[in-house]
Subunit: 311 residues, 2 copies
Amino acid sequence: MPSVQSDHPQTVRADACVPGFAAWLDTARSEVERALDTHLIECTTALGSRSRLAAAVEYSFRVGGKRIRPILVLECGRVCGGAGERAMPAALALEFVHTFSLIHDDLPAMDDDDLRRGQPTNHRVFGEGLAILAGDWLLAHAFRLVATPRYDGELAAALARTLADGTERMIAGQAADLAGMAEVTDPGLVRYIHENKTAALLETACRLGALCAGADEPATAALTAYGRHVGLAFQIADDVLDATGAAARVGKAVRKDAVVSKQTYPAAFGTDESRVRAQAEVDAAVGALALFGQRAGRLRELAGFVLARDH
Amino acid sequence: MPSVQSDHPQTVRADACVPGFAAWLDTARSEVERALDTHLIECTTALGSRSRLAAAVEYSFRVGGKRIRPILVLECGRVCGGAGERAMPAALALEFVHTFSLIHDDLPAMDDDDLRRGQPTNHRVFGEGLAILAGDWLLAHAFRLVATPRYDGELAAALARTLADGTERMIAGQAADLAGMAEVTDPGLVRYIHENKTAALLETACRLGALCAGADEPATAALTAYGRHVGLAFQIADDVLDATGAAARVGKAVRKDAVVSKQTYPAAFGTDESRVRAQAEVDAAVGALALFGQRAGRLRELAGFVLARDH
C-alpha cells in the first residue's frame, strides 16, 4: 500500500511493520460489512424495492469504504472490557453518519466532487435532490439505530447525545471549511476545521465504544484523546495526500484544495512540516493509550495506519 | 384571515367560529416562541457569535412560523393527562426537524423556492452549501434535544425512535414527490406522498406528546390517527392553495405544482373534490378524538384550523 510518507523512512508504517495487523483489520472490516449488509437489506425492504431513495442510500455503502469508524467503536468497546456484539448498532450508526457526510460534502454546493472511491459520487448517479435526501435519511436513521430497544434506555440516550454532539461538531467544521475558502490561510482556523470536521467523528467513535462497554471516566477520557489525535493525523494526511497524491491512486480528484484556496495544513505549514505534525498526532494518540497496556495493541497500530492511508 | 374555503361556506372555519380559539393559539404559540428563543440563544452561543452556520440556523426560525407541530406536541401531552413543561424539549425537537425539512425542500435541487413566509429562503441568503449544512445541523440537534438527561432514559430512547421514524417517513415522502414529478398523475402515489411527506410529522407530533405524558395504547393510537388525518387535510389544503391562491397572500410562489407536474390532490381529483376530501379528513380527525371527550376541545378546533390556513 503506497504511503503519503513513502519518502520519509523515519515515520512508522504500521500496516507494513506489524505482522497480523492487516489480517486483523480485514477480519474486523468483514464483521462490519456483514452487519451492514444485513441492516441494509432491512432498510431497503422497509423503503420498498422500487424506491429510488433506497437505491441512493445503498449505493454509497456499496462503493465500499475502510469502515475505520465502526471498527474503532468495536475495538474501543473491546479494550474497555468488551462490549462485543452490543456495540454493533452504535458502530453502524456512526458509519451511517459518516456516509451521510460524504454524500453531502461531495455535492456541487460543497466540495463538488464527481468521484469517490473511484466511483461516481451519489449526486452524479441519482441527482442532487435525491442525494441530499439520501444523506438526510441516513442521518435520521443513525439515531434510530442507537435508540434501539436492544439498548437499556439510559445507554441509548447517552449514545444519542454523543452521536448528536459529534455530528453537530462535524457539520460546524464543514461550515467553517466552506466559509474559510478563498480567505487568507489562518493556522487557528485550520486547526478548528480539522478538530471538528474530521476529529470530532473519530472521537465520537471512541466514546460510543466506551459507552457500550460501560467504561469509567479515565478510560473514556483516554479514548476521547486518542480519537481526537487520530482524527487530526487522519485529516493532515488527507490534506498532504491532496497536495501530493495522484488521482488514480486516491480514487478521487486531487490538488483541489489549493485551487479553491481551502484552509489546509500544507497551506498553513508546508508539506514537510505537515508530515511532522501528523506523526506527532499519531505519537500523542499512542501516548493516550498508556493506561490500557497490552490490550490497546490494535488501537496503537490503527493510529499508525491512518498515516499510511492512500484513499 | 382569508381561507382557501372562502367560496365554500359549508366548510367549517374553526378560527372564526370558536370564540377564544385564536387567543388560545396565540398563547400557545408565545409559549413555544419563548422556549425557542431561549434555546436558540444557547445554540448560537455554543456555535460562536461569528458563526455563519449559527446565523443560517437562526434565520429560518426568525422568519416565523405557525408552530403548529410543537403546539400539537404540548396539547396532546395535556390531553393525555398533562406532560406540562416536560414536553417542551420534544416539541422544540419536532420544530427543528420541520425547519430542517423546509430549508432542504426549498433548495434549487428540490422545490427551488426563492420565498418562504414572504422572506428570501435560506439558500438565497446564505448560499446552497450553508443552507444544506444548516438543515443537517438542525436535524442532528433535534435528536440531542429529545436525548436530554432531563428525560428518563427509556422515555428519551422512545422519543428518539419516534422522531427518527417520522423523519425517515417524511424524507421518503419527499423523495417520492421528487421522483413523481413529470410522471402521470397517480392517485395512489399522491396518497403515499401526502401520508409520508406531511402527515408523518403531524402524527409524530401527537405521538411525542402522548409519550411525554405516559399515555396508554388506546390514547396513543387515537392521537396517531388524529395526527394522520390532520396531516392529510393540511397537505390537501396546501395543494388547493397552490392551485388557487395568490402569491402575496401565501408568502411564497404559487401555481408551481402544475408547472412541474407534481403529484397533487387537485391534479388527481380536481379542486372541488379535493376540498371535499380535505373536509372529510378533518371530520375523521375529530372523530378519532372521541375517547378524550371535552378535554380534546382545542385539538378539534386545531383540526378545523388547518383548513383555514393561508400560508
